[in-house]
Symmetry: C2
Subunit: 247 residues, 2 copies
Amino acid sequence: MIDKHSPMPIYYQIEEAIKERIDKGEWREGDMIPSEREFSEMYHISRMTVRQAVTNLVSDGYLIRQIGRGTFVARRKIQQKLFGLTSFTEDMKGRGMKPGTRLLDFRTVSASGPIAEQLQIPDGGEMYEIKRVRSADDLPMALEITYLSEDLVRGLTEEDVYGSLYGYVEKELGMTIGYATQELESSVAREAESRTLGIAEGAPLLLIKRFSYLEDETPLEIVYSAYRGDRYKFVVGMHRNRTDSNG
Amino acid sequence: MIDKHSPMPIYYQIEEAIKERIDKGEWREGDMIPSEREFSEMYHISRMTVRQAVTNLVSDGYLIRQIGRGTFVARRKIQQKLFGLTSFTEDMKGRGMKPGTRLLDFRTVSASGPIAEQLQIPDGGEMYEIKRVRSADDLPMALEITYLSEDLVRGLTEEDVYGSLYGYVEKELGMTIGYATQELESSVAREAESRTLGIAEGAPLLLIKRFSYLEDETPLEIVYSAYRGDRYKFVVGMHRNRTDSNG
DNA sequence: TAGTGGTCTAGACCACTTC
DNA sequence: AAGTGGTCTAGACCACTAC
């Protein structure tokens, strides 16, 4: 089951093996899994390598360690997804809905002001401006405006933005997305939004502003979204930091 | 600087030492910090111990590792807080505002229905129901209703809920908070909320439902909040999961 | 007492980046 | 070629939990 000569790291192979057993129901929520020493003997690898695998699965929310007792399968497996940054497409699929896109506008504009600054585009640089209506199960869900540095994702075409921009950046461009900050606020629909989203004026809107970054902190995109308040709930999982109390 | 005979783990001492140097500005954003081998020789400890410290600081957002290049101080230090779960009190302080509480109601009620189920309170058990108006700089910010299992935090008094419930649970009860899931949606104020929060009927409200859990996944609390849309933005940082693509 | 996870050592070889 | 982080080993002692 573990191939020591595979190019895949051993700890990664162990992670996959453990996750598979959990997914198959072989180990259920709350079950104790084999101890680190047992894994170590089972696969003929050192305990530190097992620990690396287990540590990763703990921080991914699959496992829980308890000193002196053992390591256990975490409950609420469904909620694990809530902790990860997702694209609209992934988000809707995760909710069991069919994501769709209507492209309103796709152009490059000269960068200036705070948007250019956030995207670290020098004076005179260009950026993509993409306006889309995102739908779920063929009904409008959100209005989105995305900005990207042209330099960073040069060659982006209209076809590329009908699906997941994150998917494109990761799979086609081979970049690694690191994190994003998001600001959410409550608002009400004005005339323009109500028409585009098919809701009444004054109906609740959830406004989201997102700044995405690559793993090395290169700014990737800015997204302004307006989600229909009657169809969309933003769901997020947050961990308590070890360092919070230090302020 | 490093005390090998201290009860504090060595890796933790290194973490603190690195954070201090960053906070003091000795190492600035984007700077390369000493290599793992340099730390290892500097403190006369093994490289694996250094790695444990650095790994923790990377996942806390302080450092960034780049293969073949080195380890660097992360940019956007201010945004590090965004990734951690905070109480209302901590949240407001982080925004530079003075948190306050007006207690509307504090009682124990018999648990039943989905709330009892979520809090894992058996039939016939009791739970605390706490209604508070939370203020920032002496102006109403949110209306909150909190439910806690009486069994878990037995002996809670009215005085305890004027400040941070998280602080009380962690410092007084010695429990460790693990994580929470939160659902956010946009709504508009009705008569009751508009009166309590001092806003107009129909004004935007940000509704937040929070389920908190201890480290061992014991459900700690349920909180329903209604934040004033004109005063409050929810801000959150999210990391891209290694496991997202696997769905 | 036996077993668990927590911490730590003193090495090793690898792929990668920089020069 | 030299230096970096990534992976891995084969042990060790500790505090804690369960019995």
